[in-house]
């Protein structure tokens, strides 16, 4: 990480007030990137398992589609799994994002999936750490990191969590701080739902089941009236075929072969249209399948 490290002490005006509410607030925090994000009003914390499945991906892409229309900021822990998904979706949907890391601020992350996110975070987001230099992360430092995530966010979202997931620690810290915690309901037979069910079982009024993006945004203090959908603006000027394709892709489970047979148009033509739409930034291909931007 080449960027300059900014040290924010407890007495500084930049020091987030939210952190001060902790029992043991960090004496100083080390930051890299855009520090104005620290004092944002609407921050969603997104945490979950490191072994996140495709379900997390689906849930987050569904939520972020709505999130993108609101002035919000996301915060997560820059770890494999849900954390990185959160950061990546934030970049994709142009939402500012904070990464609170458990290791020292100058620690070098290796691995191909860290590289790109790291670069983007330095450019458009913010790294936050409690420790200087290249201190490696230890078991306890992840727990310490979690308290910062819990303190910084206004609403916490738990996407997938195993029985002993660290996300549960973040969730209980957030509940201690009297913050709403959204739990995404999962399949009761899966290991990655056990932690979620534990949370739902807690009988705490701050816990709500996060089934829609609107619900989460409401908890953040947005009113229904300011929901604006700029999708319709985007999809203007499309010819009928592309319009129809966009509808199909929106509905999910789009299959080019079935579409081809249904409309009696050859696959090469449909493929061309899809590429053109992708070039217009309407849809995006991931792993050979199409999703709406």
């Amino acid at each position: 990480m080449q960027a300059k490290t900014i040290i924010i002490r407890q007495n500084s005006s930049e020091y987030p007030k939210k952190l001060a509410k902790l029992k043991d607030p960090p004496k100083q925090i080390y930051c890299k990137g855009n520090t104005t994000l620290l004092n944002s009003k609407k921050i969603i914390g997104i945490v979950g398992s490191r072994h996140a499945s495709y379900y997390s991906n689906k849930v987050l892409s569904y939520f972020f589609k709505t999130f993108q229309n609101y002035p919000i900021v996301t915060v997560s822990g820059f770890m494999v799994g849900v954390d990185l998904m959160c950061h990546r979706f934030s970049f994709d949907f142009k939402i500012p994002t904070l990464a609170v890391i458990a290791c020292g601020i100058d620690y070098r992350f290796t691995g191909d999936y860290f590289d790109q996110s790291q670069k983007l975070l330095l450019e458009k987001g913010l790294f936050v750490s409690e420790t200087p230099d290249t201190t490696p992360a230890q078991k306890f430092s992840f727990v310490k990191r979690n308290r910062i995530v819990a303190a910084l966010c206004d609403v916490l979202l738990v996407v997938e969590a195993g029985e002993n997931s660290g996300s549960l620690i973040t969730a209980s810290l957030a509940l201690d701080l009297n913050k709403p915690v959204g739990v995404v309901p999962g399949d009761i037979f899966r290991d990655l739902s056990l932690g979620l069910n534990k949370l739902l079982d807690l009988d705490n009024q701050n816990i709500f089941s996060a089934v829609s993006a609107k619900l989460i945004l409401k908890k953040l203090g947005f009113k229904d009236s300011i929901i604006e959908d700029n999708k319709s603006v985007k999809s203007k000027n499309l010819d009928p075929v592309q319009q129809r394709l966009l509808e199909e892709v929106k509905n999910g489970a789009f299959d080019i072969n079935i579409f081809s047979r249904k409309t009696n148009q050859n696959v090469q033509f449909i493929g061309q249209q899809l590429s053109m739409m992708e070039l217009r930034n309407l849809i995006v291909m991931r792993g050979g399948r199409y999703y709406v931007r």
């Binding site: 490191r50 072969n257 079935i258 050859n266 090469q268 493929g271 061309q272 249209q273 070039l279």
Partner: protein, 526 residues
């Protein structure tokens, strides 16, 4: 007396002339020795030859017999030396000269019959090229050689069932005469059993996008990767490729015949586009070639055809890495202590893989049970240098049963349903026709340059043959920015769009061709 008979040994597919020298002398104790680096099977030919001569009622001299295989410093192996040794001993004993410029090639049974051996076709080819007068071997070998398309040569092909019969003809000096009583002669060759009718594989129903990719792969010789959940017909799709590739040219079938003959596989019925699908537990020697007797591997057996690697991600890393040279250069060079050998390996690589360990990642209906790390590790093998050589990436999607049956009905009430744009892909013949046309179209552009298809184009050649209009350049540049495309991906897209333009007989690459080509880019993001 001393006689010599010409024969061959092989260094890879390359024949090396060998002279079998036979000397029978009255001096010294009676013995029978073969020198000149004979392998075990050549060494053992002493026993076969001696017994076969005696059982054929031919005098075996009780004298000092020395046989030298010159050049003496080249290792020789194989059982085909028997016939030359037996004929040599007979001639030396009788004091007659063996017929000049005639090659005797075959293995002897101890009752005196001549057996079939491998590499007969390769040897016959050598004789034809070097103006031998005749090639004498077993009748089975003759039938086999007759399969190939080489019957117009000057070299007489003669087959004998037994050593006794052959010796009668040598004695009567009728080996080269048409009135000899060999069991098989050149003029009896049936015209081309060869270039066998390629069995038409099953046609896959639906999967139009994947079939479109097959069409492009076959037309431009682009390597292909099919990803998809289990049961989408990836294997069946791959099996269609040899059937839609253009028919074998004479040169290609000759090369295939040589490889088959070297390996000892039957030519009959095998002279078609090879389709090899090695299992993922195949060893590196099985894949590339090598071993004690230096056998060609799967990459060579797939020469001029398709190498299909199912469960691509399950192959060990070293095997995937070893495919780089054959893919790049079109041959494999195997270097051993005994020397280095070259085998041709110009094949089309078709790889199939699940999207993740459980197979259902991205499937709209079945939930994937793998976590992100697992998927990333699984796909790591696809991201190495080998995937740089795969141009086309396509998804095979699962089909609903009712959708499949809808595709099946090409006939209704006994009548053909009129062909639509979509049902084009339900006929292998249609696809084959457009592949042939596209290849011809591309050839007219390459003219004298030795390029078989767009897939073989190197970067400098791409500049020459695949010019883009400024409009296309603009599209491609914006795509590269938007889709995080690497330079390699950029070049691949140009190559594929060139083939797509060829399929439409378009001299220039148009925007729509480029747009379609973008569909087939590598997209490994999760």
């Amino acid at each position: 007396m001393y006689v010599k008979i010409p024969l061959l040994t092989f260094k890879g597919l390359v024949p090396i002339p060998v002279t079998v020298e036979i000397n029978i002398s009255n001096r010294g104790l009676p013995c029978f020795d073969i020198v000149g680096l004979p392998g075990k099977s050549v060494e053992e030919s002493k026993q076969r030859v001696k017994t076969a001569l005696i059982n054929s009622n031919i005098d075996f001299p009780n004298k000092k017999i020395v046989i030298n295989l010159a050049p003496a410093d080249v290792a020789k192996d194989g059982s085909y030396y028997d016939l030359a040794v037996a004929v040599g001993i007979y001639c030396a004993n009788e004091g007659i000269n063996p017929p000049a410029n005639v090659m005797f090639f075959g293995e002897l049974s101890i009752d005196g019959t001549i057996n079939k051996v491998k590499r007969g076709y390769l040897s016959y080819l050598y004789c034809c090229q070097n103006e031998f007068k005749a090639f004498v071997t077993s009748t089975e070998d003759c039938l086999e050689i007759g399969c190939s398309d080489n019957s117009k040569s000057e070299t007489l092909l003669a087959g004998y069932k037994t050593l006794a019969n052959l010796i009668v003809n040598i004695k009567a000096q009728t080996i080269l005469k048409s009135n000899n009583n060999s069991e098989f002669k050149t003029h009896e060759l049936k015209p081309q059993i060869a270039i066998s009718n390629e069995n038409t594989p099953e046609i896959v129903i639906g999967q139009e996008q994947a079939k479109r990719a097959l069409l492009i792969a076959a037309a431009g010789k682009h390597n292909l990767l099919i990803t998809g959940p289990p049961g989408t017909g990836k294997t069946l799709l791959a099996k269609m490729i040899p059937a839609i590739m253009p028919p074998l040219t004479k040169k290609e079938s000759l090369e295939i015949a040589q490889i088959l003959s070297y390996k000892g596989l039957s030519l009959a019925g095998n002279l078609k586009r090879p389709f090899r699908s090695p299992h993922h537990t195949t060893s590196i020697v099985g894949m590339i070639g090598g071993g004690v007797s230096l056998t060609p591997g799967e990459v060579t057996l797939a020469h001029n055809g398709v190498l299909f690697m199912d469960e691509f991600c399950e192959f060990p890393r070293n095997i995937l890495e070893s495919l780089r040279q054959p893919l790049q250069d079109g041959y494999v060079r195997i270097s051993r202590a005994a020397g280095s050998y070259e085998f041709p390996s110009r094949f089309l690589l078709v790889a199939a893989s699940n999207p993740c360990p459980c197979g259902y990642y991205g499937d709209p209906k079945v939930t994937c049970k793998c976590n992100e790390n697992k998927i990333k590790n699984y796909r790591l093998k696809l991201s190495g240098p080998i995937s740089d050589r795969i141009d086309l990436h396509v998804i095979g999607s699962r089909q609903d049963a009712n959708k499949i049956s809808a595709g099946l009905n090409t006939r209704q009430n006994g009548k053909d349903i009129p062909q639509t744009e979509v049902s084009f892909y339900n006929e292998i013949e249609n696809m084959k026709k457009s592949v042939v046309l596209a290849r011809d179209f591309a050839q007219s552009r390459f003219k004298d340059a030795k390029i078989a298809a767009n897939g073989d184009l190197q970067t400098t050649e791409i500049k020459k043959y695949c010019r883009l209009s400024s409009e296309c350049n603009k599209i491609l540049n914006s795509a590269a920015n938007l889709m995080n495309m690497s330079t390699r991906g950029y070049i691949k897209t140009i190559k594929i769009s060139r083939t797509i333009a060829d399929l439409e007989m378009s001299q220039e690459i148009k925007a729509q061709h480029l747009a379609e080509a973008l569909q087939y880019r590598a997209n490994r993001e999760i």
